[in-house]
Subunit: 147 residues, 2 copies
């Protein structure tokens, strides 16, 4: 089980998901939990892309066997439904792993928690960088008239 916002898809997402899938070995299925608008808003910033569309794009990825929207109120209810053997935490996700492991144990959930630390380097390797570039770019007048 991997999780994330997946606001604007970039190769860093692909790398994180591929590494997650590898941990499941040959028979492994990768289930991706896409964060809800409300939970992202509370943690970092309003995503540009609505949750339904973020889910659809994640479902388009080769490496993804199944993708679902997360819970708006309790992240552990999603874990309870999926019952993953492994939960991977992405390079830019700053969960406290010890806290997470304790909370899982409290609930009788036996998932192993693995931090994916490596990062695939590409020039725009975060949604944040892509947004920043768009904010700073200059476009000729009328560039967005037709859309």
């Amino acid at each position: 089980m991997a999780t994330g916002t997946f606001d604007l898809i970039h190769p860093g997402h692909g790398y994180y998901l591929k590494e997650s899938k590898k941990l499941g070995e040959d028979e492994g299925r990768l289930v991706v939990v896409v964060a809800r608008e409300s939970t992202v808003q509370a943690r970092k910033r309003v995503p540009i892309v609505p949750e339904k569309q973020r889910l659809e794009v994640v479902q388009m990825l080769k490496v993804v066997d199944e993708a679902v929207l997360g819970s708006e109120t309790d992240m552990f209810s999603t874990v309870q439904e999926i019952k993953p053997d492994i939960i991977t935490i992405g390079p830019d996700q700053n969960f406290d792993l010890d806290w997470l492991r304790q909370e899982l144990e409290k609930r009788g959930l036996e998932a192993e928690v693995v931090k994916i630390n490596d990062y695939h380097e590409s020039s725009l390797d975060s949604s944040c960088k892509i947004i920043k570039k768009i904010r700073e770019a200059e476009f000729p007048p009328g560039s967005f008239k037709h859309c």
Copy 2:
């Protein structure tokens, strides 16, 4: 063979590629030609995402069997290399189909040209709309400090 810029991936891309793949029936392979920076620049606007990264993201999509960067000088040289049975034109690509068919014939290329007209509706169903939304959104100060 499908083509496009694929600047910021959205479900409309997925729909166009899926429809393209269907035309190839069971044994069909979908090869996607990703437009070079220089050719996009001449036609519409500078893409936000560099061509290498756009290629990598297209390669991450389930429906894509192979993806390559296009030619910077002659689009027909790419067709000559790929030798597709069918070339699909996306809903937002305004090629003159008759001209295209004539040019293919002139070069002895027997690809059938099919326009994909349907469009998958989602709220941000073009790179243009995504960029526009980002340009118009308000972000709290310091939103991009960490990236």
